[in-house]
Amino acid sequence: MKKILLSILLFALSHSAQAILKIDITEGVEGALPIAIVPFKWNGPKVINGDVSAIVLSDLARSGQFSPLAESDLIAQPQKPEDIHFKTWRVAGMDHLVIGNVNRLPDGKYQVQFRLFDVLKGKQVLGYSFPATEKTLRSVAHQISDYIFTALTGEPGAFNTRIAYVTVQRDKVNGSVSKLQVSDTDGYNPQTLLTSDEPIMSPVWSPDGSRLAYVSFEKGKAEIYTHNIHTGVRELQSSYPGLNGSPAWSPDGSKLALTLSKDGNPEIYILKLSDKTLQRVTNHWAIDTEAVWMPDGKSLIFTSSRSGKPQLYQLFLQSGNSKDITKIRPKRLTFDGSYNASASVSADGKLLAFVQGVGSNYRIALMTLATKNTMVLTHGEMDESPEFAPNNSMVLFATEENNNAVLAGVSIDGKHKQRLAFTEGEVREPSWAAVRD
């Protein structure tokens, strides 16, 4: 057996000066809301990696739904509400304005305040004050972004959570080293949870943001682990003969849907985490895999080759254990094209992002479940692993660019695109936590 390089690190909140994951906006701010964010006033030295207003500006720009004014274009820099001349901002074409301040307290802690103004109405929309430490300034900034985003779009913000992803670095000396990493949604504070010279796949966040489930080949075959990001404690959940793959958390966090082939064929099962009991979901000669849960927990959407090639199906689960789920017939969802797989469901359960293959071109498509209408979101050619942001407005996915494996994001109207480039090696399989634990 190959020697396995393996280390499991406790996830300790540290703050690296450098973001290894860089995020660039690549396309389109048409239709974005104009907003002016005035640099917050600091009563002491500004913390380099805690520049609150700069982080808010970056978050809102990255969402693709806002077009923040560059600092050099700011016509004024009001610090207090009474300093604001709304007429000037109206003339400058700004709909909204954000001002704020960061006060360093005698005990070394901070107080962060911000106010959001409606320029047209000349009134404050909301304002909050947050206690912070030097370490939590970034998180506070992301919370402010969430507040502003929600106030102006009606959607949850998803800035103050985390993303997980797999990186692979290959070189002639060490071969291939895979890492499971977690970072803030803007790529800062990357932390490595697992390092291995065997593959790592399919990381998924628990609904409460405290754990990841993933597939690790560290013992020479696929196994499913859950991993607490704060304590670093791992639990082996599935190591049956054959496949152990494609974990997906139920919305209440008590179960994992997964793919096993121990009964002779890849099928979907539900594992109850409390007692490790298994319930079989599919019983068909075809490949059944890539199950994900609908937000109400009542059905699964999965990939099956039962009609010849991979297509998406929906299976409604009965409540209670008496009914044999394997007798329930899944409903086919995709009929366009010969390859439709790897679904991700939006937080409100209305949309499905998935991989659509046409010849050798694989791209991300979006289906409205109520109507089954599908639109193509990306052009491919090797796009995969679509993951909805925990709101309903953006899809993260893995793609190839100039022979580099990178992560990218696209808004659900297809108009706003961004690239999250890992500066070392390949990045793939993003998962976006719904909440920050």
């Binding site: 082939s261 797989a341 790897s342």
Partner: protein, 190 residues
């Protein structure tokens, strides 16, 4: 347990084949094994190699002149047909291609004659398509190889199937050539 194979009488090798005692139907009917030679005993199923140092005439049964032998150490011999350890698959197919069935059968026979021997079949897929689906596809390929080996007399307990899907490519291009090299099942003796 399988017993000893028979040397079909060819010129030079008769001396090495003095110990055969039984015939095996499949040898008689399978012309590709005409050059095969086996020493051995009839104690247990173990085949001990007694290939005479004079050389291995008759190993010309296969193209490339590789020796066909299932004695225990055959898997360490670079000149043996068993030294080929990769089966390549056609696009969108889980069946062992015609031109590689023979090779799989040889490995199956080796297992059948060496009940203590074990191997791992590692299934792989090319990068196209989704990762978890490719894990399932690659397992199907390895399963197909396993079934063929079992048909030749290998026991299921001698074969472990592991799928790596597209996670362990050996070629990194985005073209047909690379994809073909990655669509494979690797035989790894343990």
């Amino acid at each position: 347990m399988k017993k000893i194979l028979v040397c079909i009488a060819l010129s030079i090798v008769l001396a090495a084949c003095g110990e055969q005692t039984k015939t095996n139907d499949s040898i008689d009917s399978d012309p590709s094994l005409s050059g095969q030679q086996q020493g051995g005993d009839d104690r247990s199923g173990a085949v001990s190699g007694t290939i005479d140092g004079e050389g291995v005439a008759g190993g010309s049964a296969l193209a490339g002149g590789k020796l066909v032998s299932y004695e225990k150490n055959a898997i360490y011999d670079a000149n043996n047909v068993l030294s080929a350890r990769i089966i390549y698959f056609a696009y969108d197919s889980n069946e062992v291609p015609e031109d590689q069935v023979e090779l799989v059968k040889h490995h199956g026979k080796y297992l059948s004659f060496n009940p203590e021997a074990k191997l791992r079949l590692e299934g792989h897929a090319d990068e196209r398509g989704t990762r978890e689906y490719n894990i399932a596809l690659a397992e199907r390929r390895a399963d197909a190889v396993k079934r063929l080996m079992q048909f030749e007399g290998a026991d299921a307990s001698q074969i472990t199937v592991v799928s790596y899907g597209e996670e362990k490519p050996i070629s990194f291009g985005h073209d047909d050539e690379s994809w073909q090299l990655n669509r494979r099942v690797e035989i790894v003796y343990e």
